[in-house]
Amino acid sequence: MEFTAILFYVFAILTIGSASIMVFSKNIVHSAFALMFTLIGVAAIYVLLYADFLAATQLLVYVGGILILILFGVMLTSQESAKLNFKTVTVNVVPASILSVTALVLLTYVFTTTQWASRNLETPQETVEILGTMLMSDYLLPFIIAGVLLLIAIIGSILMATRLNSKPTESN
């Protein structure tokens, strides 16, 4: 077997294994850390697909940002919540099974009917430069809209934070 193929299977097993731990674990914090391994595994698979910029972004945004946010949320709420007992028994059996069977059928249909383009990947040169040029030319509008959206989110969070803070100071 090729070296990259071995690497692919290692990371695929890591991703799937930690994803299942994330789903089946009863401890929220364990789930969050399992999510970290899943994300790192996915990033590694991106690297194997020559999408190094995407892999680094995945690490920076999901592992370095969102996951820390999740952990913060879990830990700042009380310590007991980490040991909360989830309901592992199935609730709403009928709708759940209908939904999952539908999803399974749809996915299988898509998987079998898609024309999978199978060709050898050639090592792309200068991914970052191409990406940057495209973001600043062809995809300028979505890029700016995304930026504005984030700005609105930041302004909104600052507004909420200052409102929450200003109340007790006024009463004092």
Binding site: V29, H30, F33, F53, A56, V63, I68, F72, L76
Partner: protein, 342 residues
């Protein structure tokens, strides 16, 4: 580069290639831990470790390492076993992985990837997670507080770090640190100064100041060592660790110091370029200059450690969000303007 290893198994060649930075880190960590204690001693008019190994106690770190290997590996009863055991290794793995994109000399760089410094920043964000992991898994309030503090300060200071790196990228126009370094060769400024970025643009001096403060925070150094502030949190996230696992934390911390110093050297001080133009330059001298400059920055970090007292958490956050981040962005615009004008 890997081709230059000759006709050996490619996997083996990759391994050898990857082990070069590891060797440098391990040797450096031994020297730096001893050096830190010597610097502390000299600053306080003492001698520092002086017994082991003869000349100025040079073997002190080796003796400490032997001691740590023999220590019992204690895992607290109610700790989360796997995460507790895994956290130190993840922390070191994250710092070690980041060394892959540093150009040690014109001959050696771990991986010639385009995204270079972006990858470095991305992989070091895993450090934060490993600190939280250690803090939470220890099941100890000091550890948890240390982990939370670490997460808060690392996430906050990632912004000025990335923004100052961005300032340099604006000047260089490349994320690849090898290209960034190559752009800084030669001695043209004012006739004798090397073409380092810090001399090329006056606003980059301010950028370096902000960058240096940020890397002090990112590597948990005094005066920003809140995650492990021993007078408040026992030892922060390291409280429950002992023996080799604790040593891994120590190693990761020192590796992180070196990593960020070397990043600063690459971005502002010309990386492996010799300060004397073509004199004393070449692949081997590249290693020498790069590590020498890195050690100089590490020394400054130690010097600061034994000079300044620790900041409070709110002061730390105020410095970041109130001063550094606005200053960085204003500086970014000024640097860009300077580049456009000159």
């Amino acid at each position: 580069m890997i081709e230059s290893y000759g006709n050996i198994n490619p996997v083996l060649a990759v391994l050898i290639h990857a082990l070069i930075p590891l060797t440098i880190i391990l040797v450096y960590a031994l020297v730096a831990i001893w050096g830190e204690r010597k610097v502390a001693g000299f600053i306080q008019d003492r001698l520092g470790p002086h017994r082991v190994g003869g000349w100025h106690g040079w073997a002190q770190s080796i003796a400490d390492l032997l001691k740590l290997i023999q220590k019992e590996d204690i895992v607290p009863k109610d700790a989360s076993r796997f995460l507790f055991k895994f956290a130190p290794f993840m922390m070191f793995a994250a710092s070690y992985a980041a060394f892959a994109v540093l150009p040690f000399s014109s001959w050696y760089i771990g991986s010639m990837i385009d995204i270079g410094v972006f990858y470095l920043i991305a992989i070091t964000s895993v450090l934060t997670l490993s600190v939280i992991m250690a803090g939470w898994a220890s099941n100890n309030k000091w550890s948890l507080l240390g982990g939370m503090r670490s997460a808060a300060q690392l996430v906050s200071y990632e912004v000025p770090t990335i923004a100052t790196v961005l300032t340099v990228i604006v000047v260089s126009g490349s994320l690849n640190l090898m290209t960034v370094t190559e752009m800084q060769s030669g001695n043209d400024i004012l006739g004798f100064l090397p073409n380092w970025f810090i001399f090329q643009n006056p606003f980059l001096i301010i950028a370096f100041g902000i960058f240096f403060i940020s890397i002090l925070v990112e590597s948990h150094r005094v005066p920003f060592d809140l995650p492990e502030s021993e007078s408040e949190l026992v030892a922060g996230y390291q409280t429950e660790y002992s023996g080799m696992r604790w040593a891994m934390f120590m190693l990761a911390e020192y590796a992180d110091m070196l990593l960020l110093s070397l990043l600063g050297v690459t971005l502002f001080f010309g990386g492996w370029n010799s300060p004397f133009g073509s004199f004393m330059s070449g692949p081997a001298w590249g290693f020498f200059w790069f590590l020498l400059k890195g050690f100089m920055l590490v020394f400054v970090m130690m010097w600061i450690r034994w000079t300044l007292p620790r900041y409070r958490v709110d002061q730390l956050m105020h410095i970041c969000w109130g001063i550094l981040i606005p200053a960085t962005f204003v500086n970014l615009i000024l640097v860009a303007l300077w580049e456009v004008v000159f």
